[in-house]
């Protein structure tokens, strides 16, 4: 196992460089002159020179690239043009919120999706199956901000069960949970839609296996067959899908944070966007590059833990 972990960790290094390279191309090569973008058409030549120097874009592109990579790895992600604060501090302030949100969403998604997918498979082609399948297809069709707005309207504005703005009251655990509830439910139900579908198809496959027939022939109670024998094996592909889904979850959390006005990585990036804070924007792209690589690494590792065949390859 240790060998597998080390190998995965080493493989993550080239991936990180590749992802950072894409970010560099997007942030530095494609946009032309960022100084011009920041200062506008009216800027004097001198101001432009100063800004270019400050951003480090007056050097040759190869030097910029090397500097960019070194800074990214060392956590020097630039300082905000608006607030003057280092990006790394801003990220550190909001990161717990985003992690809290995504982890809760995964739990909500699994708690809804796994039982629903299992029932759907057991009662295949009965009304509960159709309902679950249509429901999950509908869930897949929601852009995260659409479902967020509908939840906000129903439960925060009409019923007033939850706060409209999900920030503040952070020291009080009850208040914090109330703030977390709607955003986490929003991400959770969309995720549940994915989990339901994968659990269903994986369960259907497992239920057709020989060892299930054997268990049935032995007279093992139906309930025990489904929940003990079948589900355990059916969950392996589900975990993979959860891993693949993390990427979508990262994107959806950006939209959720905006609708519920909740602090987090996504909110930070979008406010940088609205304030045209070029350095924070570029820093956030680096942050997301790291997030992507870490998420992929975690998925690979979990896969290795669950499915012993992967390790031996």
């Amino acid at each position: 196992m240790l060998g597998y972990v080390v190998k995965r960790l080493l493989l993550a290094v080239p991936t990180l460089f590749a992802v950072l390279t894409i970010v560099f191309v997007l942030a530095r090569v494609l946009p032309g002159d960022p100084a011009q973008t920041i200062l506008g058409d009216q800027a004097t030549q001198e101001a432009l020179e100063n800004m270019r120097h400050r951003l480090g874009v007056d050097k040759p592109i190869a030097a910029q690239y090397a500097e960019f990579l070194v800074d990214a790895v060392r956590g020097k992600w630039g300082t905000s043009l608006v607030t003057g604060k280092p990006v790394v501090d801003e990220v550190r302030n909001v990161l717990p919120y985003t992690i809290e949100l995504t982890v809760t969403a995964i739990i909500v998604g699994a708690l809804i999706g796994v039982p629903l997918g299992t029932w759907s498979a057991i009662y295949r082609n009965r009304w509960i199956d159709y309902l679950a399948r249509m429901g999950s297809l509908l869930g897949l069709s929601f852009p995260a901000f659409v479902s967020a707005i509908l939840l906000l309207l129903a439960f925060a504005i009409e019923l007033r069960w939850f706060p409209v703005i999900s920030a503040g009251g952070l020291d009080d655990p009850v208040e914090r949970l109330r703030n977390l509830a709607l955003p986490a439910i929003n991400l959770g139900i969309i995720m549940a839609a994915y989990v339901t579908r994968v659990t269903r198809s994986s369960m259907l496959e497992v239920l057709g296996e020989d060892y299930i027939r054997t268990a049935r022939a032995k007279g093992v109670p139906r309930r025990a067959i489904v929940w003990r024998h079948a589900l355990r094996n059916a969950l392996i592909p589900v975990v993979t899908v959860v891993g693949l889904y993390l990427g979508i979850l990262i994107g959806n959390s950006v939209l959720t944070e905006i609708v519920f006005n909740r602090p987090g990585l996504g909110k930070l990036m979008v406010s940088a966007l609205n304030q045209r804070d070029y350095t924070v924007l570029q820093g956030m792209m680096v942050v997301y590059a790291f997030v992507i690589v870490i998420v992929n690494l975690l998925t690979d590792l979990t896969y290795g833990f669950i499915d012993p065949r992967v390790k031996r390859q």
Binding site: V19, A27, L137, L138, I149, G251, L255, V270, L273, Y288
Partner: protein, 291 residues
Amino acid sequence: MSAITLGRGEGHLLAQVVRAFSANATSWIGLALFLAIVALALLAPVISPYDPLDQDVLTRLAPPSADHWLGTDSYGRDILSRLLWGARLSLVISTVSILAAMLIGGVIGIVSGYVGGRFDLVVMQAMDVLLSFPSLIMGLMVVAMLGASMVNLMIAIALTAIAPFARIARAPTIVVKERDYIEACRALGFSDLRIMAVHILPNIIAEIIVMGSLWLATAIRIEASLSFIGLGVRPPTATWGGMIREGFENILDSAWLSVFPSLAILLVVFSLNMIGDGLRDAIDPKLRSGE
């Protein structure tokens, strides 16, 4: 592997598609819904009751009524008309970008699979890196850096969809290129280009088209999401995501502003998912549900 199942499918491409459709009623319902929406979008200049950009201060934020079926926004513009015109934009952006992704991704996948060896390895590694970017994050980065415009939105969406199409095109190419008839083509001295275009492409195109319908749904979602964030086609042009963004400011007293475009997006994406889901069930026997 569904690709192979479909590759073996006898008969004309159209017959394959019709057969795939018939296996599942869901895809027909989805198709009917989607075509209805496309028709409404095409007819927007004829049927929309008002000009989508016409402002009328006297009827600002009017709730749904006989004059304005879906109400008006904070500039007094007719919501229904803006929805209809917004549908055109949404459909054009997503269709063009997915077609581009199908073309570029398809070519990359076929060439990479056909050439094989180290070239294949490097290309697919690059595709994996692209694939590891969540599509919304990738779209956000591209549009944020290039600026919000229709063309840049298309580039952003196409970029996120190229890698999946490359992978889906590569897998069956590797299987098909080992077949005897491809060997025969080579023996006859056909050029690689001709073999790829005439003898491999027809075997894998159905698979790519099915995937296209699912990615069209994703493209519409991404376009709407970027517009909602403020990275869509610039106002006052009507975009669904932009309408929700504007309506969101008045959500406490005029909820319909954001609810109607929300439902519109949901309906389109749902109909496309129904099409794609039914087709996927039909071509993947493992998932087949209604025997």
